[in-house]
């Protein structure tokens, strides 16, 4: 077990000089290798202080922090920081350096050869989705979203095993924010980094984290668990109120549609005989019939229009709500409700997987 812990906080306390109250109170926390942990809580809960103690921008008053088994005080602070990626809300790009030079910051500090730096910069631009022509520009010439991508690329430049993020998406507009969150999550999964991510936005914490640590004012750890477990069983009244309303819906947001039991529904192959078609309608007690061509979804036909003709002769209509199997149950519910549809069909690349109706979603909620 110990070997898999990347960051271990042991009874860490921080009291700022002149402050009466503790900023962080005896916090112990373990972050596994490759895990994405979000620190979330209201202002004054010490989440940012906790993060900054990991890369020693703030030094703890007492307690110890182990990075990959080594005490963080064992080497000089600047060396430790070069081995930990750091992304902040203000982004903090260096305005006087081009994008390429910004990304190259840590490799330059580590004294890499120029060709290696150039190669790494090009690779990272690709990783975070920056076009090559942006590399020669200055930060002021980029949009907020692009700047934040550069911030992430810069943090990843020397391939640090750990990435610390302090509300990195707090200042970008909501649409870009959602996209950046998705990209950041994908990136973390792809690169296997250990991430500690501070946010005050509980939905962001739920969406991003493998585990979330909920902190209360004064740096008290209220609960540390997977978002699913926390939503299902809030450990305290504080956690419950902090999670806010719609806890059930938020939990649905974490469950993939494939987590619910998909029904096969009244679907038949287009080659089926009219008799089979009518039997299927009766069996499911519905007035519509889904048509498949092998595994491929064709659409649906109205039950009343079924006459003696072969099914091939009917023009199938498209389903109002189609989802892919990586969509969340919350998306499915929302689609069904706003689309006034009775069912949502799950289709991956044209292949029919099954269908969901309100009943099957409701079953998940009550579970």
């Amino acid at each position: 077990m110990a070997k898999d812990v990347m960051i271990r906080l042991v009874d860490v306390t921080k009291q700022f000089p002149g402050a009466a109250d503790l900023a962080v109170d005896g916090l112990s926390l373990e972050v596994g290798r490759g895990q994405f942990v979000t620190l979330v809580g209201p202002s004054g809960c010490g989440k940012t202080t906790t993060l900054k103690m990991i890369n020693r921008i703030i030094e703890p008053t007492s307690g110890s922090i182990l990075i990959d088994g080594r005490n963080s005080l064992a080497s000089p602070a600047h060396e430790l920081r070069r081995s930990i990626g750091y992304v902040i809300q203000q982004i903090g790009l260096f305005p006087h350096r081009t994008i390429a030079q910004n990304i190259a910051t840590v490799p330059m500090l580590l004294g890499w050869e120029q060709p290696r730096i150039d190669g790494r910069v090009a690779e990272l631009a690709d990783t975070v989705g920056l076009e090559d022509e942006m590399l020669a520009r200055y930060p002021a010439e980029l949009s907020g979203g692009q700047q934040q991508r550069v911030g992430v690329a810069r943090a990843l430049a020397a391939d640090p095993p750990i990435l610390l993020a302090d509300e990195p998406f707090g200042a970008v507009d909501p649409i870009v924010r959602t996209r950046l969150q998705q990209e950041f999550r994908d990136l973390q999964e792809r690169l296997g980094k250990t991430v500690v991510f501070v946010t005050h936005d509980v939905d962001e914490a739920i969406f991003l984290g493998d585990r979330m640590a909920i902190l209360n004012v004064g740096g008290i750890l209220e609960q540390f668990d997977t978002p699913e477990n926390i939503l299902a069983n809030p450990g305290s009244e504080f956690v419950e109120s902090f999670l806010g309303g719609e806890r059930g819906l938020k939990r649905l947001g974490l469950l993939p549609v494939t987590g619910a039991e998909l029904k096969w529904g009244p679907f038949v192959d287009v080659s089926a005989s009219p008799t089979v078609a009518r039997a299927t309608l009766e069996e499911h007690d519905v007035d519509w019939l889904g048509l498949l061509d092998g595994t491929r979804l064709l659409g649906w036909v109205d039950g009343s229009s079924l006459d003696g003709r072969s099914l091939v002769d009917h023009e199938p209509r498209p389903f109002l709500v189609t989802l892919s199997s990586d969509s969340s149950l919350r998306t499915a519910l929302d689609a069904v409700v706003t689309g006034h549809a009775r069912v949502a069909v799950v289709v991956d690349d044209g292949v029919y997987r099954g269908m969901l109706d309100l009943e099957s979603i409701a079953e998940e909620i009550t579970e």
Partner: protein, 224 residues
């Protein structure tokens, strides 16, 4: 009763033609006195600003003392410095340098303190050591403000150097002094001294503006 008042023409071009060499020499003297004061002033200011940045409590006393130096009239400085340094170069430069300190120190400190906190924090988080961060991140970003201070200091010093001719150090003030001291005022000398020192100030100001812009290309590329 003056019957035939001897009048001088307002501007005598032939005098200029006859004295081109002297004018050139005086201009160079003026530049030397200015340049020396700026180099020494800048060096002292960087040292004092570094101290003020490292130990913020020292900032107030430093600006208080240099502020007093800034308000002492240059003639008073000459008088005060004379017992130790006599009448000459050192005394002149003490006066000139003391005028640059307040402007330069204030601008250096303001420039460095004006670096956005996020930039400073990012530099810290990336693993810059204090000295590296100051030299490679904060100082370049403070350049526009520092150069602005240097321009004011330069223009101020060029004006003051004309006064140092009182100490017999030459410079363009020589012509002005000479023009006033003659039994009959000699406008050509005064005009040459004034116009050239103003021109020098304007040219150096533009040169520094240009140098500043070349050193800070990022400031001119705005948002997309």
């Amino acid at each position: 009763m003056i019957l035939a008042q001897q009048t001088m023409p307002l501007f005598d071009w032939s005098w200029v033609g006859r004295n081109l060499d002297t004018i050139w020499d005086r201009t160079l003297e003026h530049l030397r006195l200015t340049g020396f004061a700026l180099v020494v002033g800048l060096a002292l200011s960087i040292a004092l600003a570094a101290l003020a940045l490292r130990k913020p409590r020292t900032y107030e006393p430093i600006t208080a003392v240099t502020g007093i130096m800034y308000t002492i009239p240059s003639l008073a400085v000459f008088a005060l410095a004379r017992p130790w340094f006599g009448i000459g170069f050192v005394t002149a430069e003490i006066a000139l340098v003391s005028y640059t300190l307040l402007i330069l120190i204030r601008n250096i400190v303001a420039g460095i303190n004006g670096v956005p906190p996020g930039v400073r924090e990012a530099a810290l988080g990336m693993g810059y050591r204090d000295g590296e961060r100051l030299r490679r991140i904060e100082f370049p970003l403070a350049l526009p403000v520092i150069v602005a201070g240097l321009r004011i200091a330069t223009v101020t010093v060029i004006g003051l150097v004309t006064v140092t001719s009182l100490l017999g150090l030459g410079g363009l003030g020589f012509f002005i002094l000479d023009g006033i001291r003659r039994s009959v005022i000699f406008p050509t000398g005064i005009i040459v001294g004034v116009v050239l020192s103003v021109a020098l100030a304007a040219i150096l100001d533009l040169v520094l503006l240009a140098v500043g812009r070349i050193l800070t290309p990022w400031t001119r590329r705005g948002a997309v």
